[in-house]
């Protein structure tokens, strides 16, 4: 049953990705601007233009272009960036690690902040502490990451300048890295001076991305904790003499976490979507920042590649969460 569920999900995933590819392709090809005209110096002859159009396959019909592009994509060939004149897949892989690291740090922070708030709120249910947590999470949820980013820039970049508000790493540093996973590699190489510098750059964009998700986690987890805390087995643990915190951590959390998990999956994709503008705001050299440049430069192959990679990431996250849910949920596991 688990395998069947997995295969069905895999099929719908393929359909979704195909749909994304079609939509991106159609949207981009109806663009009125001519990307070729922007690549050539003034005074280029018609023959030059035609040659370049043929080189990028722009002289075929739109359906032909789509299938030429798609068969390339399936083989891992995303084409050549028009503005940067480099292989699209190479460019994407060069930037993707920066975005993944940022999103992962943000996710960890969201779970830590939201989880703590939920446990605290459930323990102090019915008191002013819970009311305070509710107000804080309501506010954190209503204000989007873009605005949180600006608030943080003002607070910790200008008013109390403790963190960096621009870039991924201090430019004067000598980086010994062979991969683009700077944070991960700095820890492996025990270069904690570099880790600290990276974190100082990453902290504020990560908090901006984490706050709305932390709010959702705190609200949902607190709700399920409060429901579980009234169940017999939890009451029994309390009678056995465990403190309320112990009861929550040892007995309630495991069963209350499941509904939160499914939601975190979808919300994590929203968080990754938010990296596009938050990276821009903090001049963080990730995929999203490059995507905006690609759109402004009308770099069609690069935009297609980036959007498709984002979409792939989103469906993979949803698939993973779905499978984790199936594995953790006893009713589905033994069904």
């Amino acid at each position: 049953m688990l395998l069947q569920r997995f295969l069905i999900r895999l099929l719908t995933m393929a359909i979704t990705l195909f749909g994304v590819a079609v939509v991106v392709f159609v949207v981009i090809r109806v663009a009125p601007g001519d990307p070729i005209a922007m690549m050539l110096p003034p005074g280029a002859t018609d023959a030059d233009i035609a040659r370049l159009r043929a080189l990028y396959g722009l002289d075929r019909t739109i359906v032909q272009q789509f299938f030429i592009w798609l068969s390339g994509v399936v083989r891992g060939d995303f084409g050549t960036s028009i503005s940067l004149r480099q292989d699209v897949l190479g460019l994407v892989f060069n930037r993707l690690p920066a975005t993944l690291e940022l999103a992962t740090v943000a996710l960890v922070m969201a779970v830590a902040i939201g989880g703590t708030a939920a446990i605290l709120g459930a323990r102090e249910r019915g008191t002013a502490v819970e009311a305070g947590i509710d107000i804080a999470s309501g506010t954190a949820l209503s204000i989007p990451d873009f605005l949180w980013g600006l608030v943080l820039i003002l607070l910790f970049g200008v008013l109390i300048p403790v963190f960096d508000i621009s870039g991924r790493v201090s430019p004067q540093l000598n980086l010994p890295f062979v991969t683009q996973f700077y944070l991960f590699e700095s820890i492996l190489r025990l270069r904690f001076d570099l880790t600290w510098d990276l974190l100082k750059h990453m902290l504020m964009p990560a908090v901006a991305l984490a706050l709305p998700l932390a709010a959702i986690i705190s609200q949902l987890l607190k709700q399920s904790l409060k429901e579980v805390l009234d169940l017999d087995y939890v009451v029994l643990a309390r009678v056995k003499g465990f403190s309320e915190t112990q009861v929550i951590l040892r007995e309630a959390l495991k069963n209350a976490a499941l509904p939160t998990l499914t939601l975190v999956g979808v919300q994590f994709t929203f968080l990754i979507g938010g990296t596009v503008i938050v990276e821009r705001l903090f001049s963080y050299e990730g995929l999203g920042n490059m995507a905006i440049d690609a759109v402004i430069n009308r770099d069609l192959p690069l935009i297609q590649g980036i959007v498709l990679v984002f979409a792939l990431l989103f469906v993979l996250i949803n698939l993973t969460v779905d499978m984790m849910y199936a594995l953790l949920n006893p009713r589905l596991r033994h069904g």
Binding site: I15, G19, V20, L150, I153, L154, A291, V307
Partner: protein
Amino acid sequence: MDEARIARRGVGPRLWLAGGWLLLALLAAIFAPLVAPQDPLAQDLMLERLPPFWMSGAEPGYWLGTDSLGRDLLSRLIFGGRIAFIVAFAAAFAACLVGSTLGLIAGYFGGWADRIISRIVDIWMAFPPVLFAILLVAVLGTGLSSVIIAIAVIDWTRFCRVIRAEAMGQSRMDYVENARIAGYDRIGIMLREVLPNVVPSIVALLSLEMGIAVIVEAILSFVNLSISTDDPTWGGIIAEGRLSIHQAWWVLVFPLITLILTVLSFSQFGEALKARFDPVLR
């Protein structure tokens, strides 16, 4: 019951505060030429980066200070509100119309209609929304109508998902079955029986969506892809403020406060309306 009463008690001041701010900002935007103390486009290099009124060096008549070109910040915020509210209303209503219609059809009719619409929603959910918006505006060309279309094209799914679920729940209720037995046709039942019951959700989502539309417009003008004219926008002012943050913090602070208040008000307003309409809470 207790929770309902608490929710009800909280509605009053929240609704008034949120509604009050939105009304104030809306009226200021509508009557901008009468209310704004200065011409929002007038540059004066003698007046560049004036601080707000309570600081030394401030000039009378430039209450919130000026930007790096000597343009009055308060007047630019008031005029920027025009774009923000036009986009908020137009984009939210367009997204609502498309999303609610498709959601109602998918939820009430089910079957193939539901399968196709749900698959399209899935595809839409696989796009990073901000990137999709930027891409659409770049393709459509900058301008007010492009911004509105882009937001509607992206955000209809928010309405579709919620209304689909609600319509699905409603269509299983007895009264819908009774109407069917009584001989009403299915479209008639959908419009006369199911639709009125999902209206509270639509209204709440609409208010929420207006806040989202204001943000998306600000993001688009922040990356310089909103309207193409010189007219001030909140996001455009924020972009200027981000650049001169160390010289003139007020150019970033005041549009940011304006945006936060507006977004919070729209979401609070939506929740309050929902609580008021919701028969369970009422």
